[in-house]
Symmetry: C2
Subunit: 234 residues, 2 copies
């Protein structure tokens, strides 16, 4: 630990120390930073885990990992940063938050840490906008040796949300089948397709256009689940 910002030196806080520490916030989701800073003293945000109903979205750039082995680090950086900026703007405007970066993939949560009772509709609307925005962006990166396409999987359900980890390194994480099912649906999605579970779109017919409703079995789960492709919103 850098001496200038070690806790034992708190008596001599300087603006330079503060600015250095301020850098850390960029490495965490803005909605999470807000909650951590507002939390009660001696109880980190998320320390008391809770079971909560939210919506999970997994997003993946098709074949990007294989492609990344051939690209210059600078190109990967430029493309990912532009793409992530597009995603974060759309997600943020629908009150979602990036929970995890997984290589080029993303796990996005709607309904937590920012409260949002409409988390299902927000996720579906955000997905439709993402699909359109990425289709536009793909034209800007036509220099890549592979088309830039994404897959989106969405599922709603209860999961345990909390900050888990050793004393010196906790992480705000979601745990439960509902998360894994969203990941499986993303893997099922075709290029530039949004696959959502009925748990998310049920009762939203007035707002969402869907097609090809069907049942599937996903790895690790015995029950069939009903899914559909999300085409747009009204």
């Amino acid at each position: 630990m850098n001496k200038k910002v070690s806790k034992s030196n708190l008596q001599q806080v300087t603006q330079a120390d503060f600015e250095r520490l301020w850098r850390l916030r960029r490495y965490l989701a803005p909605a999470l930073v807000k909650r951590i800073l507002a939390a009660e003293e001696n109880e980190p945000f998320g320390f008391v885990a809770k079971r909560k109903r939210v919506t999970f979205m997994f997003l993946d750039i098709r074949n990007f990992t294989e492609l990344s082995d051939e690209l210059e680090p600078e190109t990967i950086s430029d493309v990912l940063n532009e793409y992530y900026t597009i995603v974060a703007d759309i997600i943020g405007s629908h009150h979602g938050s990036i929970n995890k970066f997984l290589g080029d993939g993303l796990l996005i949560i709607f309904g937590d840490p920012e409260q949002n009772k409409e988390h299902k509709l927000s996720a579906l609307r955000a997905a439709v906008e993402l699909k359109r925005a990425v289709a536009d962006y793909s034209k800007q990166v036509s220099f890549l040796p592979m088309p830039f396409r994404i897959g989106i999987g969405i599922n709603s359900g209860k999961a345990v949300l909390g900050a888990f980890g050793p004393e010196n390194h906790i992480d705000y994480t979601a745990i439960g089948s509902a998360v894994n099912i969203a990941a499986r649906l993303q893997a099922l999605a075709d290029n530039n397709q949004i696959v959502a579970c009925k748990s998310t779109y049920e009762g939203l017919d007035a707002s969402i256009n869907l097609a090809n409703e069907r049942t599937v079995r996903v790895k690790g789960y015995s029950e069939e689940i009903t899914i559909a492709d999300i085409l747009g919103y009204k």
Copy 2:
């Protein structure tokens, strides 16, 4: 953003503001915090992505997600925190760092951000110690309705490491096939088994005991890869 710690108020830094901001460090890996705080001003750590040879380890608690749907959040929290503490202690003593928490799973990197030329041997030794420690821990959690077992996958290779993301939320991430292959090997591992790629154990016969060397094909990769079970170290 909490007003007390907004950048516009940097002139009036108080110890309370500093302490509040200090909380953020717990939500990031200690080795990463060290590098972020020591970085040059105006260039966040990881901002210039680089391709580097490191060792990746994926760790997973078998069937924990399904189990977690039935457990109280408090039990999940207690078990995960104890388990993560055991893992972090062993990983840290071998100069590895938790890069991602993925539900109950972990992605650990050896060789970055802490420099370590012996990252292959460090990862293999850490895995053997983890396996033993988790076997002991499983006796403490015999009240769980399922045995507590892990699977470990290890692979070494080049990947692009960098802090990617939108302006207000970057994440220190590894991208490349070498990461994905480690994840696939973890999925191949039996309960309490360590599966490593030859890229990691090659040339380390004098230090590592292995068995059952074989070739496999993993999803998404055309070439066969040679793997073995890691039994112990000398």
